[in-house]
Amino acid sequence: MIQSLWFWLMGYVIVKFKGASIECLLNLLIDDGISVWSVERVTTDVIVAQVSVKDFRRLRPLLWKLNIRVSIVGKKGLPFFWQKFRRRQFLIVGLVIFLLILYYLSGFIWFIQLEGNEEVSKEDIFAILKQQGLQAGASKKDFSPKAMETALLTQIDQLSWAGISFKGSLVKVQVVERSTPDQATIESGDLVASQDGLVTHVLTFRGTPNVQPGTTVRKGDILIKGNYYDMYGRAQVGKAEGVVKARVWYEAVGEAAFRRIKQQRTGKTHVVSTLTIGERKLTYNQEVPYAKYIVEREEFSQTMRGYTLPVRFTRSTYHEVFYETRVVPESEAKEMAISRAWAALAAFDISKDMARATQVEEIAITDQYGIRVGLLVEVEVDIAAFLPKP
């Protein structure tokens, strides 16, 4: 391997020997200290071999004696390569020019990469960078990253750190935004009762509980205080957090009548037809012979390509009706009243399956046409409400 590299450096030729006793020639060559390699017999009187350039010059005198003809098939190695190269001087000149251009262009900024901004807009940062002279196409020597970092930090308040680094023709701008502290840690205050009730469960996440299960509380009473002692025994003032479940009562009233009036059709109908042409109306059968009726109106008109024709036909059907008064049984009326009371409670987000206990109370009404019920529902809800300290 090293030897073949050496041969390549010194240069060698591929030669073709043509003659009868080439073995004799090879023996003569090595006796003279000429080394040959890659010897290959092509035909009976032709052998191709490789000889170094230096040895090739010594070859000729030996060939005279043996009547062997020699010719060069190929030239390999650095000297020949160099010779070829020298003929193409402009290639080298071009290569040098190319390298110079590459070096010159690498002195400019081609790309700017921005990382780390979330709240601050890209445009704002780039505007400041541009103001400082950093933009695609600017020369790298002209500015200092330090001044630019300072400019970014002083001009944009939300940034807490800025770093500018070069990677060839790429400028990497990294920023870190100031994170605003969590509101919960700033706020302080207590949890107070949002309504009257009997406390059943107290679960404190932060703060000192002021009530126990069994305590009756009124609206506005403090349930969990924001002041507490932390794990190191230091007094802290913070935002009380927790769940305080309490039994609370809701009242609602529902009413229902004993009579129900129902509209019914007699089955008689009367049809009035109207033909409208522009502003003119032609009506057939205009007189309605009923005192109480409902009307069903059908209209026929033709629309062509979004343009309504001025001719319209209307058919009104008059149904004669009468009103029937039905007596509602008391049990049905009561049920109706209770369901109306539940519907009223739905406004407070109370549903039937939440109720722990319900109590229905009949309230007497002076007139005999209806029923009124009072509904008392006991539910267990979280009554804790946060009251921030001023």
């Binding site: 080439i22 073995e23 090879l26 006796d31 080394s35 040959v36 890659s38 010897v39 290959e40």
Partner: protein, 93 residues
């Protein structure tokens, strides 16, 4: 005369436990499988064709038969060849 000198050298190398190719000018033949062969201390190439290579050595003529034989390297007292070697033999003539 020459034979007796040889015998003395042979005996000497046996007693001294020395490699005989150094003193006795014997060919040293190294083969790698049947694809490569190196002969050191040869005394000249007698014949080269892709099927046969004949080399003169101190101990007789070394005949190598094979297919597609090629001389990779040929210098004074060393020859390296490759190809598909079938047989290596010595002959007195």
């Amino acid at each position: 005369m020459a034979k007796s000198v040889d015998r003395i050298i042979k005996g000497f190398t046996a007693v001294m436990d020395m490699p005989s190719d150094v003193l006795m000018d014997m060919p040293r033949i190294r083969m790698m499988g049947n694809v490569e062969l190196v002969v050191e201390n040869h005394k000249g190439l007698l014949e080269y064709t892709p099927k046969t290579i004949r080399l003169r050595t101190k101990t007789g003529i070394l005949i190598i038969h094979g297919r597609r034989l090629r001389i990779l390297f040929f210098v004074k007292d060393e020859l390296k060849l490759d190809g598909h070697i079938v047989s290596v033999a010595f002959s007195e003539h």
